[in-house]
Every structure is written in structure tokens, then in C-alpha cells.
């Protein structure tokens, strides 16, 4: 038995029962399909590297671009779930407790806060704004967590909370791009693309890099956030949707059932095979395999996306509700329709676990609606932030608990954060007095909080300290590049050597300079 076959068998063992059934049925069908099975043969041919030896571009298996690849270093994590709160939640209400702000509440910000600074919206001299919610210490580690995140507080011992992340960007789209692609401009590969390029995928029937959205809007920088940039398109993130086709064009057209589609692909494969005998082009086998994989993906994706298969206690753990379609999804401005019990994000967290469990390498969640300026309805610190926290709190805690119970947390890195933080000053461009439902903070790139859990990071660690106003880091500042370097490192990808040759250069996620450091202090 070849090592490839070995690996494939091993992979089958890790499939859920329904997934294994799908695969067995598919194989049985090949064996019974009039002795044809060309598609299956093409697949195995590719898996053993025969066809792609001729400069072909097989998709998975063998030397294909999505075949699993050994990491460069001993990995601590095998896969990633990245939870991005698009808009950027306030660290001063959630993680970075600053009693000093209460003493200066509604006083003019000192000149040192303003000189030489560029703000997105703040004009003139803004007032200091006290933290709007209470904090307490939780767990054995004594992590300081907001009253808005009670469920997370209960699992805080599992997380490594970094309160001193800083970024170069103070507008959403560039800052999101910088966080996820290493460049504030469009056109570079995203973290998920890099990781999938570096490690391949462990399930050939599912995309290697999956993106799930909630909050009613695409994140500010759009699909560029999961684009493959200069990496081959096969590494781009695939957005899976919870309504409509889970993957675009996944469903067979009306009136065409699986049996008919199977017959059609068999006919196409037979004709392709005949053509290959004449042209001699091994790429034709790649084509046949490509259709075979598409056929399997059509079954595997809906299967894995169907959270109704989960038992009630697991749904409850996340607060998930199968089949729920949020009214916010169709609204032009979803923010005023947000409700704390909206389970869309919870459903996505549960989906993330199912995808990870089935070998997807990188699952990226974006939850939109965290941009709490307080200048229009549905975007305030005092009213909207608590609702958004309710939407995610149980789900995030449930995800960590569920992963741990399944023994997956050790090898799955979970990251939570926004693209920057929020100012200690109240935003003042619309009104400078306190008004319920309109209390907000502007964008703050100098210090904010991101936490990581699982995947070989130190649980219960509180890393970095900010000054008494939460304005700047005073201890252990962490740049976005440090964070990217550390994430790659946990996956066994040396951030300094891991590259892709493009435009004559060894392009890297962490950029051309070596300022991004692996943060050894964070590693377990």
C-alpha cells in the first residue's frame, strides 16, 4: 500500500459517520457504474502522482496544491478558527479595565492624547469617557473580564489574553487587510490562504479554507480579506453560506438528481478518456478528477453544513438554532435590528467546529457590527455593544468548551479580535454630551486586545500591559506582524522562511522586513 493510500485511509477514519457513508456509497457507485469508474481511476491516478508528474496541476492528493504537506517545524496547532469582530470592539469595555478613566470622565482629553495623532472622526478636544461596564477577575488565572462576557469569563482560564496589540492602520478596510493579509492595500494573500498553501487540506472533499459571515454585512474590506492574492486561486477562501447554496453553484439544477448527475459525469469522463488517448495530455486526468471532486463536494459540504444533526445539548452549549435566518441578513442597515438572542454567529461557531473536525485547515468567521462610534442608531457602546456581546458570548465559550471536550482544542488555534481598538475618549463629531444609545468611541490603533486559545498557546496568560488610560502599551507591546509570525509558528510554519516566489521576491505574510517576532512567551 502506498503512503498516499495509507494517508487517505487514515483520513477516512477521522470522518464523521455520515461522511464515511457518503464516501463508501460513492466508491460503491464507481465499482458498479458499468465497469467505468474512470473518474475514480483518474482520482487515484492523481493521488499516486502519476498524472501530475507531467507538469499537471492536480487538485488534491499526490503532489496537488491542496495535498497535505508536512510543516516546516514541529507544529503546536494543526488548524485555525479565527473569530474576527469586524468594526472593532472596545477593549476598554471588554478586557482592559481602566479605573483611572472614571476619575477623568467627561473631562477634556490632555494634549498628549491628541498631538500628532490622526483620528477617523474625533474633532477638536474630545472628553475622556469612563468604561461603561463593570469588570471582575475570573478563574484560577484571575483574568480581568467584563460583565458583558459572563460565559467567556467562565472559560477564561483557557485563553491567552493579549492587551497590548497595536496596528499601523486606523480605518477599517486597510486595518482588516493588514491584520489578515499583512498589507493595508488590496491584493495580498490572506492568512488562511497562506496556511492552506503551506499545509494543504486534510479533506479533499471540502475546501481547505472556509469563510463564514454574520452580522448582516460583508466585512469592510470585502472578499479581498479571503482572497489568495498572488498565490494560486486554489488557495482562496471559500465562503460557505447558511442560506441558499452553502457554496456557490453547489446544488444541482432543478430536476437533475444525483443519479442523473452521476450518469452525466460518467459519460463526460468516458468521452474525456477517449480524447486523452488521442491527445496524450495527462492534464485531462486532472480534469476528470476535478469533476469527481466536485461531485463529492456536492455531497460533503451540505452534510458538514447541516448543524441540525447535532444533539440538543451541543446546540444549547453554543446557543445555536439550525435553520435560523436572521432578519438582519436582508436589511439594508442591519444594526438597528440586532437582537441579543440572534443565533447566527452561534451557528457559525458550531459550523466551524464541524468543519475543523472534518479536516478543514482554516475557518475564518467575520461578525460585522462592532463599530461603536455612537454617532447614529445601532452603533453605541452603551446599547449596541451589550447586544453584540450577547450574540457571541455563549457561542465563543461553547466553542472552546466543545473543542476541549472533543480533544480538539490542543491542536486547534482559536483567535478572537478586531482590527484595532477604541479610543479612551468619547467620539465627539456629532454630539459632545452623553446621551443614552449614542455613547461611542473612535478608532484606536495604539493598543487593543486580542486573545488566543488552544493550539499550543499558554492558557490563562494575561500578556502585556497598557498605561492607566489604555492608550499605549507600557509592557510587552505586540504588533500585528508579531501576531502573524506567532500564528504561523504555532502551525509549524517558520514565518521568516515561509514564502512564495512572486515578482522575483520571496513574498511573506510578515512582509519584507524581519520586525515580526515569534512571541515565545505566549507559547505553552
Amino acid at each position: 500500500m502506498s503512503s498516499t493510500e495509507n494517508r487517505r485511509l487514515h483520513k477516512a477514519d477521522s470522518l464523521t459517520e455520515p461522511m464515511r457513508l457518503v464516501r463508501t456509497q460513492t466508491r460503491r457507485h464507481f465499482l458498479s457504474a458499468g465497469g467505468l469508474g474512470i473518474g475514480a481511476m483518474a482520482l487515484s491516478c492523481l493521488a499516486s502522482g502519476q498524472a501530475s508528474a507531467a507538469g499537471g496541476s492536480a487538485v488534491t492528493g499526490g503532489d496537488g496544491p491542496l495535498a497535505p504537506k508536512p510543516p516546516m517545524l514541529a507544529p503546536r496547532a494543526k488548524r485555525v478558527i479565527y473569530l474576527h469582530m469586524a468594526g472593532s470592539p472596545s477593549q476598554l469595555e471588554l478586557f482592559d479595565h481602566k479605573p483611572e478613566l472614571e476619575q477623568l470622565h467627561m473631562q477634556d482629553a490632555p494634549p498628549s492624547f491628541l498631538e500628532g495623532k490622526r483620528f477617523a472622526f474625533i474633532k477638536g478636544v474630545p472628553k475622556i469617557l469612563a468604561g461603561q461596564f463593570g469588570f471582575d477577575r475570573y478563574g484560577q488565572s484571575g483574568q480581568t473580564i467584563s460583565e458583558l462576557l459572563p460565559h467567556f469569563a467562565a472559560v477564561a482560564d483557557r485563553a491567552c489574553v493579549i492587551r497590548t496589540v497595536h496596528t499601523d492602520q486606523f480605518n477599517h478596510a486597510p486595518a482588516q487587510l493588514f491584520t489578515h493579509t499583512g498589507s493595508p492595500r488590496l491584493g495580498n494573500p490572506s492568512l488562511g490562504s497562506w496556511v492552506t498553501y503551506g499545509l494543504g487540506s486534510e479533506n479533499e472533499n471540502l475546501p481547505g479554507f472556509v469563510v463564514l459571515l454574520s452580522g448582516g454585512k460583508t466585512p469592510d474590506a470585502g472578499k479581498s480579506l479571503w482572497g489568495s492574492g498572488f498565490l494560486p486561486g486554489v488557495y482562496q477562501g471559500v465562503q460557505c453560506r447558511t442560506s441558499g447554496d452553502p457554496v456557490l453553484y453547489l446544488g444541482d439544477p432543478a430536476g437533475i438528481d444525483r443519479g442523473l448527475r452521476r450518469r452525466m459525469l460518467d459519460a463526460v469522463a468516458e468521452m474525456n478518456d477517449a480524447e486523452q488517448r488521442i491527445s496524450g495530455d495527462p492534464e485531462t486526468f486532472t480534469r476528470i478528477a476535478q469533476y469527481e471532486l466536485a461531485f463529492r463536494m456536492q455531497m460533503a459540504v451540505p452534510e458538514v453544513m447541516d448543524i441540525s444533526q447535532e444533539p440538543q445539548h451541543v446546540l444549547d452549549l453554543y446557543g445555536a438554532q439550525p435553520g435560523f435566518v436572521s432578519p438582519a441578513e436582508a436589511a439594508d442597515d442591519p444594526r438597528t435590528l440586532y437582537r441579543g438572542d440572534d443565533p447566527t454567529f452561534a451557528n457559525n461557531c458550531l459550523l466551524a467546529r464541524r468543519l475543523i473536525e472534518n479536516g478543514v485547515r482554516f475557518v475564518q468567521l467575520y461578525d460585522w457590527g462592532w463599530d461603536h462610534h455612537g454617532s447614529s442608531p445601532g452603533e453605541s457602546i452603551d446599547e449596541t455593544l451589550p447586544i453584540k456581546c450577547q450574540q457571541i458570548d455563549r457561542a465563543v465559550a461553547g466553542l472552546l468548551t466543545d473543542l476541549e471536550q472533543r480533544g480538539l482544542l490542543d491542536e486547534t488555534l482559536v483567535v478572537w479580535g478586531g482590527e484595532f481598538g477604541r479610543t479612551p475618549m468619547m467620539q465627539n463629531n456629532v454630539r459632545s454630551e452623553l446621551k443614552a444609545g449614542f455613547i461611542g468611541r473612535d478608532h484606536h490603533p495604539y493598543a487593543f486586545t486580542i486573545w488566543m486559545a488552544g493550539g499550543g498557546v499558554r492558557p490563562g496568560l494575561a500578556y502585556g500591559k497598557t498605561d492607566e488610560f489604555g492608550y499605549y502599551p507600557v509592557e510587552n507591546p505586540v504588533s500585528i506582524r508579531d501576531l502573524q509570525a506567532t500564528i504561523l509558528h504555532t502551525l509549524g510554519l517558520d514565518p521568516h522562511r515561509f514564502h512564495f516566489r512572486y515578482q522575483g521576491l520571496d513574498q511573506r505574510l510578515i512582509g519584507p522586513t524581519d520586525e515580526g517576532r515569534v512571541l515565545d512567551d505566549l507559547l505553552a
Binding site: A120, G227, D252
Partner: protein
């Protein structure tokens, strides 16, 4: 066409010895085992990749005050021992250090991520032994036309490696290949039949001329250019609002159709506004550099994004015309190519004088009156009121406009690329390493975009003709003679056929920069006309077809796949130009933040326009195009790296656009086939798609599938009804009137099978 005389090939071999070059190119890091070392081919790539990072042009990173990118640095007279001593490896410290056993002494240092291979060390040593002759990087040397033809150069290499050229492809295959390559559409059966009836060289030439003269030619080649021009119908970033810039796209189509020479194509786009008395078209052309993104996100610093747009123009200009990567030099002096950070900002200073400033209204714009009667668009005073623009067919197109003298900006070096950290002021200038004597003589303060444009297409610019000829070759052969189309610098891949590239480059430049002429030269060559069939022995010797032992066979682009399916189905609209259109895409894709703009599926003709006209939203590109490696228009895309993924199969199987095409093809098969039997219908459909005559037995799988499908649809009439009901009324109405629903449904899935055949998806 007669085979070349053997003596001609021998001549080429004896005097030019192109084969060793190609050995090196194919292996990239491998080395020639015979023949003298050639610096630019064998040595410079090693020095560049392994030494320049610390001993190259970048002063900031330079170690030990040693630079190996200059002969004077490597052989510096002041150094008695000498880093490189001609003819004496023992005295050359370069050789001593790269062969040292001492980890603290050896070069490159052990922690450097690009270590030398033994063969590379051997090459460096042999180079020193042979006298350490110095040359410029090959691509920076002047383009001098070599003797011989395309076929001479290709065949010389083939013969040298024991390979034969493939026999000519059949006329039907050539008809399809030419048509897809030149106009991006399949030939009609009648066109292919005509070429088959008379495949003589004059008839073949007429066939080519006919394609080159069709209006669809410009549409196809415009797509190539629009990738480079980072054309899109929106502005990018968070709001990603619409931008009216399609008149520029139409200008590009017309420029290709009229075979506008490259020097004019260049000058008009880069500096049309600086010409004396520019025509409206010349102003429209300048929208080329208004394809940069602008950021309407609230709270952004407009200056930051204005600067980003100017840098994009700088990078795109140099990349597109000269194949050099300027991007690195915006933060530090280029480590591998002769572009310093000062060069960068001097070049930037030229582009930093336009009036656009990341404004949400995209000003400056020119007013165009577009009239349905195809009269030329004409500019009017932009001060007029814009209220009734839409009714009057008025559009406002972003264009380049130079600032008046009193508002000109001072340009400074941006330290580490940061526009908030500005250093010394700089005067505008083109790149020093590529300035000719005449450029140097002109006063620095007079350098503007017009000078840049003229410099790019001047007779002595070594890069522009090579980069362009390579680009054209790549569009026809699936891969450039220099594979890294985007990088002709010292780190780019070396050409597989250097003399052939220079031949094409010189031909293009000296032939009046005519693209159509260049295309005709290439497509009438025997190399182009080879069959794509390959036997096992050839596959073993030339697995990736580097040596052109056969015609390439590759998957068509997303646009061509769409256009081809619609054309074969008889649905394709031949309407040219105008605003972008919205063919069906899955609902709910456009969910941009704070933008109320909606995708509304087009009805009627606009549903079936060529892919070129599909609305391109940067943050949410049309999914069927992006699945096939199409660009998003965010940044200049020099080449699309082709991938094959299961998601592509899902598009051609399940996208309603392709299903609709299948249904229309089914209707043609039923109504247009010579007879009403299954065999005639299947044959007709397959021939429409594949163009070539069918082989014995080829229909059998299709007919079996048709029977199978018919049985299934007859057994479950509700399935047939569901399929037919999902189609537009114009097609679904047909079923029932002419054939029973189950019969029609069966033909629809048969047609869909045809549209998913590898041969149909492939250019061969």
C-alpha cells in the same frame, strides 16, 4: 509549409548555441555542463539570489562595504587581495568564502535562507577561472535583432535535445485555436469548413487576416490589457461604490481594433492630457491611471489614499511596460535591481502632480455625451449642471489632469515608504539606470508624464519591447518565453529562448509597434501550427513543453468559457461597448458595508453580453470569473496563474448561465440538426462545440446518456418539468410545442455534458 533545410539549423547551432542557455533556464538553478560560462546567464542569477541581499544595490543593508552588483565592487582595485581576481580562483576571496568550512566565515552565512548548491559554487569558480568577464543582466542589454525565424530558433533547440516538432494540427483544430486566440470566440462551422477545404498558406493567412479585422478582436485583447490596467467598475475599499469608467474600456477595445501602435497606445494613456491640443479620445485614454482605487470610508485621510494611488501608478507603469518590480524601492533601495529609493521618489515626483486627490466625486472628470447613434463622444465644459446627465446620455469619466503651476506639489522621499515620514526633496526623473544620453541631457525640471511615456517606447529602451513581445507570446502559448512575465529583473526566470524573444521584440519595435503584425508573424509560424498531441517519449523529454515540442493545451479563461458557451448556444450578443452589465449571479452576494448598490440580473440581450462587459465590483467580483482565476481589478494583474479546482466544475455544471446555454444548445440540436434522429442531433451539438469532424464511435457515450436521461425524465415527469420551469420563458416555452418535455429535458442535460467536455473547456 516546407521543412527547414538542415544546414540552416546547423548554422544556428554553431554560431549561437542557444541550447546551453535553455538547459539553464529549465533547471533555473542548474548549470550548463559544457561551454563557456556566460556571466549574465550563469553567474548574475546566482549573485543576485544569494549575495545581493547584503552585497547589492541597497546601501542600508550593505555589509562589509562590499557590493557585487557592480564590476568595480567585485574587482575593486584598492583591495589588493581582491574579492574577484580574474583567472585566479585561489586569490579570489569570493571563492574562498563560499567554499569555507568555517561556519563563521562561510558565505552566504548559515542562517541565510538561500544557500548555494555545489553546482553553483562550481559555476562561480569556473567563471573566475575563465577570466571573470562581466556583463549587464541580459534583459538590460539593447535589443538587437538576431538572424533566423521563430521556427529556426525553436527547432534548433528541439533537435539538440532529440525532439521533433509535432506535425501540423488539423485545419479544424487550427480554425478553433486561431479563433479562440485572436477573437476569444469559437469559429462557426462554416468558417472551419472553409479552412479545411483550402488549408493552403494563402488561405490560412486570409483566415488570420479576417479574424484580426473583426470587432471581436479588440474585445478579446482588451481583456488582456484591462487586467494590467486594474480596470474595475467600482472604487474599491470599504464602500466600493460604482465608478463610471467604462468609456475607457471602450477606448481600449477600439485601440486594439484599430491596431493603435504601442507608442501611441502608451503616450495617450500615460500622458494624453499633456499632448498639444489633445483629442477627446486622448483624454479618455488617460483614465488608464484613474483606475486606481479610492477610499470613501468615513474618517480616512484623503492624502494617504491619494499617495497610495500615485504609488500604484508608479508601480503599475514600470511593471507593465518594463517588467520591473518598483514596489520594493518605495521603502528601501531595491536589493536586486538597479532602482534606488531615490530613483523611486524621483519617478514618483513625475506622477505626483495630478489634480485627483481621493475625492469621493472622483474629480477631475471629463464630461462625455454618449449618443446611441455611435457618434464619437465629445467633452464639454464640466462646469455645466449635471442634473439631467442620465437622460442626456452624459457620463463623467475620471481623467488625469496636471495641477496648475502654482499648485504643484513638492515631492520628498518617504522614509521606509511612510508618507507621514518625509525625507529629502527630490526632482522628477526617469530611472537612472535606464536613462539614455538624450534623457540625461534634458533639464530635470521639465520631466513630466509625457517624457516618461516617450522614454518607455523609445528605440533604446531594452525592456519595453521584450516585455510586450513576451506578453503576447504568453497569451498565445499559455506561458511566456520568460515565465515570470511580471519580472524581467535579475531575480526573474531566465528566458527559455532568449534569441527568439529578441527576435520578436525587435520585430515588434521595428515593425511600427503593430500588435496585429506581431500576432500574424507568430500564428503563421509552424511552431504555432503544431498539433498539441503528445506521445510518451516527448512527454518524458519535454514534460512541461518548455521547448515547444507541441502546441500547448490549456484551460480557457473564465471570460472565454462564458463567451464560448453562449456563442455555441446561439445566445451571445454581439452588442459592443457601453455601461457594464449584470448577467445572473446568485442572490445576496453584494452585502457591502454602507453601500445600497444592488446587483439586478439583466433581462434580454444584456444577459448574454461577452464576459468583458460583466460588471466588476472589486470587493465582490463576479463569482464565475473569479473561480477561473480572473482578477478583481484591485491591483495590476500581470498574468493569471491557471488553477483547476472543483469549484470551477460547479460553475460550468450548475451556474444558471451555463444551464441556460445548455438549454439553448439543446434547442439548436433539436431544431437545426439535419435529421430528427438522436444521432444527428447529438452529432450536430458536438460539432458545434468541438468544431472538428467526429471520430467513429464518439457519439456512443452521449447517445447512451441521452437514452438514460430520457428514461429518467419519462419516469419522473416532475423532474423534467422542474428543469424546464427553471429556464427563462423564451426557452422553456419551446418545450412542449416541438418536443415532449422529457425529450427536451434529456437534450438539455446532454448539451450540458457537451459544454463540460475537457476538449470544450480547453484550447488545443
Amino acid at each position: 509549409m516546407p521543412r527547414l533545410a538542415a544546414c540552416r539549423i546547423a548554422w544556428v547551432l554553431v554560431f549561437c548555441s542557444p541550447s546551453t542557455l535553455i538547459d539553464q533556464a529549465a533547471a533555473n538553478d542548474g548549470q550548463p555542463t559544457t561551454g563557456p560560462i556566460e556571466f549574465s546567464r550563469d553567474v548574475l542569477p546566482i549573485l543576485s539570489a544569494h549575495c545581493f541581499a547584503c552585497h547589492g544595490p541597497d546601501e542600508g543593508e550593505r555589509q562589509a562595504d562590499l557590493r557585487l552588483d557592480l564590476e568595480s565592487g567585485a574587482k575593486g582595485a584598492a583591495d589588493v587581495t581582491g574579492v574577484v581576481v580574474e583567472g585566479d580562483p585561489a586569490a579570489s576571496r569570493l571563492i574562498e568564502r563560499i567554499t569555507s568550512d568555517d561556519a563563521s566565515d562561510v558565505m552566504p552565512p548559515p542562517d541565510f535562507n538561500r544557500q548555494l548548491e555545489p553546482a553553483q559554487i562550481d559555476t562561480l569558480r569556473r567563471w573566475v577561472v575563465e577570466g571573470a568577464k562581466w556583463q549587464r543582466h541580459w534583459a538590460f542589454e539593447p535589443v538587437i535583432r538576431p538572424a533566423g525565424s521563430i521556427d529556426d530558433w525553436v527547432r534548433a533547440d528541439l533537435a539538440n535535445r532529440g525532439l521533433q516538432p509535432a506535425p501540423p494540427a488539423s485545419p479544424h483544430t487550427l480554425a478553433r485555436r486561431l479563433s479562440l486566440d485572436l477573437i476569444g470566440l469559437p469559429p462557426t462551422p462554416a468558417m472551419a469548413a472553409a479552412l479545411a477545404a483550402d488549408p493552403s498558406p494563402p488561405a490560412y493567412e486570409r483566415f488570420v487576416d479576417d479574424l484580426l479585422s473583426r470587432p471581436e478582436f479588440g474585445e478579446h485583447w482588451a481583456r488582456m490589457w484591462l487586467d494590467l490596467a486594474r480596470y474595475a467598475d467600482t472604487k474599491g475599499y470599504e464602500k466600493d461604490r460604482g465608478r463610471t469608467i467604462w468609456p475607457y474600456r471602450d477606448w481600449v477595445v477600439e485601440a486594439f481594433n484599430s491596431d493603435m501602435p504601442l507608442h501611441r497606445f502608451t503616450i495617450d494613456q500615460l500622458a494624453g492630457d499633456l499632448l498639444p491640443d489633445p483629442t477627446p479620445d486622448q483624454l479618455v485614454a488617460t483614465a488608464f491611471h484613474r483606475n486606481t482605487m479610492s477610499n470613501d470610508e468615513g474618517g480616512t485621510d484623503d492624502e494617504e489614499f491619494r499617495v497610495a494611488a500615485v504609488k500604484d501608478r508608479v508601480n503599475t507603469t514600470v511593471q507593465v511596460w518594463m517588467g520591473l518590480t518598483m514596489g520594493c524601492a518605495q521603502c528601501h533601495t531595491h536589493k536586486y535591481d538597479p532602482i534606488s529609493i531615490e530613483d523611486y521618489y524621483r519617478f514618483y515626483a513625475i506622477f505626483n502632480q495630478t489634480a485627483d486627490a481621493d475625492r469621493s466625486d472622483d474629480e477631475p472628470r471629463m464630461k462625455l455625451v454618449t449618443v446611441a447613434s455611435a457618434q464619437p463622444t465629445k467633452p464639454e465644459d464640466k462646469a455645466e449642471q449635471p442634473q439631467d446627465d442620465a437622460d442626456a446620455g452624459v457620463v463623467r469619466l475620471p481623467v488625469m489632469r496636471e495641477l496648475p503651476d502654482e499648485q504643484r506639489r513638492e515631492s520628498r522621499i518617504h522614509n521606509r515608504g511612510n508618507f507621514l515620514d518625509q525625507g529629502d526633496p527630490v526632482e522628477p526623473a526617469v530611472l537612472a539606470a535606464f536613462r539614455s544620453e538624450s534623457d540625461l541631457n534634458s533639464a530635470a525640471d521639465s520631466v513630466d508624464r509625457l517624457d516618461v511615456a516617450k522614454w518607455l517606447v523609445s528605440q533604446d529602451n531594452p525592456l519595453t519591447p521584450r516585455v510586450w513581445a513576451n506578453r503576447v507570446w504568453a497569451r498565445l502559448f499559455g506561458r511566456g518565453l520568460v515565465e515570470t512575465e511580471e519580472d524581467f529583473g535579475t531575480l526573474g526566470s531566465p528566458p527559455t529562448h532568449r534569441e527568439l524573444l529578441d527576435l520578436l521584440a525587435a520585430d515588434y519595435r521595428d515593425g511600427g509597434w503593430s500588435l496585429k503584425r506581431l500576432l500574424k508573424t507568430i500564428v503563421t509560424s509552424e511552431t504555432y501550427r503544431q498539433s498539441s498531441h503528445v506521445d510518451e517519449e516527448t512527454l518524458r523529454l519535454d514534460p512541461a513543453n518548455h521547448w515547444l515540442s507541441r502546441a500547448p493545451r490549456y484551460r480557457l479563461s473564465g471570460e472565454t468559457l462564458r463567451d464560448q458557451a453562449l456563442a455555441v448556444a446561439g445566445l451571445l450578443s454581439n452588442k459592443q461597448g457601453g455601461p457594464p452589465v449584470m448577467p445572473p449571479q446568485p442572490a445576496g452576494l453584494w452585502r457591502s458595508t454602507y453601500s445600497g448598490e444592488q446587483w439586478v440580473d439583466a433581462d434580454g440581450e444584456d444577459r448574454f453580453r461577452r464576459g468583458l462587459y460583466t460588471y466588476l465590483k472589486r470587493t465582490t467580483p463576479y463569482p464565475a470569473m473569479i473561480a477561473f482565476d480572473g482578477g478583481s481589478g484591485e491591483v495590476c494583474l500581470i498574468r493569471r496563474v491557471r488553477t483547476n479546482t472543483p469549484l470551477q466544475a460547479l460553475v460550468t455544471l450548475n451556474d444558471p448561465v451555463f444551464l441556460e446555454a445548455a438549454a439553448a444548445l439543446a434547442k439548436r440540436m433539436i431544431t437545426e440538426a439535419s435529421d430528427n434522429d438522436d444521432r444527428s442531433r447529438a452529432r450536430y451539438g458536438l460539432r458545434l462545440a468541438l468544431v472538428r469532424p467526429l471520430r467513429d464511435g464518439e457519439l456512443a457515450p452521449l447517445l447512451r446518456f441521452k437514452d438514460d436521461a430520457l428514461n429518467r425524465f419519462e419516469a419522473t415527469p416532475e423532474s423534467a418539468a422542474a428543469l424546464i420551469d427553471s429556464l427563462p420563458a423564451a426557452i422553456s416555452r419551446f418545450s412542449g410545442e416541438t418536443v415532449p418535455p422529457a425529450e427536451f429535458a434529456a437534450w438539455v442535460v446532454v448539451a450540458s455534458a457537451i459544454l463540460n467536455l475537457d476538449e470544450f473547456l480547453t484550447r488545443n
